[in-house]
């Protein structure tokens, strides 16, 4: 009864609560891959990850193993990581340079970076049998591929909105805000990917990213320790502690501060948290950045760019982006209770070195495998998942905080407080739409 089942998935999402099955049920998870990850636009990587011909990086789109490659003509391609001959993975390494061609380790079929056949060994066995131009003998390209300001996405469906329409104003802001901060309008990825396995559902991570109630509670220990050491550093050295200390101390801001932030919900589940750090102190680095942007764009535009204070953007369903800190975390579901995050950061082309050092400090303190921040999030995520996997003990997850108080204007939802659970409700509105549309 496919019809009955689709209605069922929709019923899991109510205005102010969701059923625990959306996090813990294998069948729901499989349906999410079909209806969301294998249909919508999913982030693959940044074009600067593959600067030279023959470069490649591998990643996941739902259950599919994908390759992003750079051809000899400079074009970037997104391919399924599968040999058309007998089906083996072509690239077994996470990244590398394949030279002129991918070469399958099994029978040495070779493919250009766009997936077309370059060479087949002992080809007399195929003379008069196959035509190498027949697409069934090429590596398969992603059904659709798109590039927004250097950020490469793929959709494994031939149908649906184009990338820019899908991202809309809400998600495009993530990439615009990174790139606009560069005097050259471009970001360049730092070729280091920290990978963390979360023992929890992919949605729990996205929800947590815009949950402004949890930081002062979950990260209490780290905020206190950082604030204490910030003072000790100053006392002992006479200098202000490095900015990283403030990043950590900020996790225990008073609730009034979290309350003053804004959350904004956009169509397709894209959601923003605005305000927060500001990141525009009067230090020499920021002043040099202002001067570089003024040279490039004029004072008015510089002020407009640096006044943009979008702290965090969820690009649904696959990314958490922190534009002013040049951080990006890609979400790769591996099962209902297992999620891989790929964590990256960026340089802004033409910006002062200190701006990169700020991003690097955040990457270290918040996003590295030794982070004192995500250690506590991961502990929560595991505990949440284990609680949600129970049969008894209650069926629903509450998203009631400030429910019914959101205002909607032209499809854009605003919360009444930064601590509202509107971001979760906005993401689930898209979830419900994606899981039930076309049925």
């Amino acid at each position: 009864m496919p019809d009955g089942q689709e209605v069922h998935y929709g019923d899991y999402v109510q205005d102010d609560r969701v059923h625990k099955a959306v996090y813990a049920d294998q069948a729901v998870y499989e349906s999410e891959l079909d209806n969301i990850f294998h249909k919508k636009w999913i982030y693959i990587g940044h074009e600067s990850q593959v600067p030279n011909p023959g470069d490649y990086w591998t990643t996941w789109v739902g259950k599919e193993r994908m390759i992003m490659s750079r051809g000899s003509d400079g074009a970037v391609h997104v391919l399924y990581n599968r040999c058309p001959h007998r089906g083996s993975l072509i690239c077994n390494n996470e990244h590398g340079n394949a030279g002129k061609a991918f070469r399958c380790a099994y029978h040495a079929w070779q493919f250009y970076m766009d997936g077309s056949v370059r060479q087949v060994p002992m080809k007399q066995g195929y003379d008069g049998v196959i035509d190498y131009k027949d697409p069934q003998f090429s590596m398969v390209r992603a059904e659709r591929q798109g590039n927004y300001r250097g950020f490469i996405f793929a959709s494994l469906s031939t149908e649906g909105e184009d990338l820019e329409t899908y991202l809309g104003q809400g998600a495009r802001a993530a990439f615009d805000d990174i790139c606009n901060r560069s005097p050259q309008g471009e970001a360049e990825i730092v070729a280091n990917c920290f990978r963390i396995i979360q023992h929890s559902n992919w949605k729990i991570f996205l929800e947590n990213q815009l949950d402004a109630v949890h930081p002062s509670i979950t990260h209490h220990s780290t905020g206190d320790a950082a604030a204490a050491m910030q003072k000790k550093y100053k006392d002992k050295t006479g200098d202000d502690a490095p900015m990283g200390y403030q990043f950590l101390a900020d996790f225990t801001l008073p609730f009034e501060k979290w309350d003053s932030l804004q959350t904004v919900g956009f169509p397709n589940g894209h959601t923003q948290l605005t305000g927060y750090m500001g990141l525009r102190p009067r230090d020499p680095v920021t002043l040099a950045h202002e001067a570089a942007l003024t040279d490039a764009y004029g004072a008015e535009r510089m002020d407009e760019i640096l006044s943009t204070n979008v702290h965090h953007v969820i690009v649904y369903p696959c990314l958490s982006v922190q534009p002013p800190l040049q951080q990006l975390r890609a979400v790769r579901p591996l099962g209902p209770n297992k999620t891989l995050t790929e964590i990256w950061h960026f340089r802004l082309k033409g910006a002062p070195d200190g701006i990169y050092e700020r991003a690097l400090a955040y990457y270290y303190h918040v996003n590295s495998p030794s982070t004192m921040v995500n250690a506590d999030d991961l502990n929560n995520f595991r505990a949440i998942q284990e609680g949600l996997a129970m049969v008894g003990g209650g069926d629903w997850v509450s998203l009631h905080r400030n429910a019914g108080q959101d205002t909607v204007d032209n499809g854009v939802t605003h919360s009444v407080t930064g601590m509202s659970e509107m971001p979760m409700r906005n993401m689930f509105a898209a979830w419900k739409q994606f899981m039930t549309e076309g049925n």
């Binding site: 396995i197 023992h199 220990s221 320790a225 204490a228 690097l360 030794s370 506590d376 991961l378 502990n379």
Partner: protein, 165 residues
């Protein structure tokens, strides 16, 4: 042929490394901080072939201030991901002194470690190599730089590393 160092030097260096292993396994935090020179650093690079720490991503790169912050954090009553804390047990071996400064007595020494970590019904296993730059002082060796290369450096981490390996 590699240089041969005195038995006394070999023994003193080995004892220092074994004692460090015991200190971090047993969470003797004051003793841990006292192992390092005032400007000493603990460094775990993000890739196997990384040559410098500054200005690049690292897994750990901490001076005494950041180490003390980490200690304050894991000892904080609300450090819920440290309740229960992890239990650590390591073996340090293959201690090979690379150089001894004839004038100062400073040492560069490499070694291997195997480490199990247990927390919440789950056991993890780490292996890798240490490379210590030890400064000779009136009060014995102090760590100028400890480089830690874990075998799974580029791999995905099941959960994060809350204290030093």
């Amino acid at each position: 042929m590699a240089a041969i160092f005195s038995v006394e030097t070999q023994l003193a260096v080995e004892r220092f490394l074994y004692r460090q292993a015991e200190i971090v396994d047993d969470r003797e935090w004051d003793a841990w901080l006292a192992l390092f020179a005032e400007d000493g650093k603990y460094w775990m690079p993000a890739t196997a072939d990384q040559e410098v720490a500054d200005g690049q991503p690292n897994i750990f790169y901490e001076d005494l201030f950041l180490m003390e912050m980490r200690i304050k954090r894991v000892c904080h009553p609300y450090a819920h991901s440290q309740a229960p804390t992890q239990r650590l047990s390591r073996v340090v071996s293959n201690v090979i002194i690379e150089s001894e400064d004839g004038a100062t007595g400073d040492i560069v020494v490499r070694s291997k470690f195997h480490l199990v970590e247990y927390r919440l019904d789950d056991q993890r296993y780490f292996g890798g190599k240490y490379r210590h730059h030890l400064k000779q002082t009136d009060d014995g060796y102090r760590i100028q730089l400890q480089r830690v290369d874990i075998a799974n450096v580029e791999g995905p981490f099941g959960y994060v590393l809350q204290t030093w390996l």
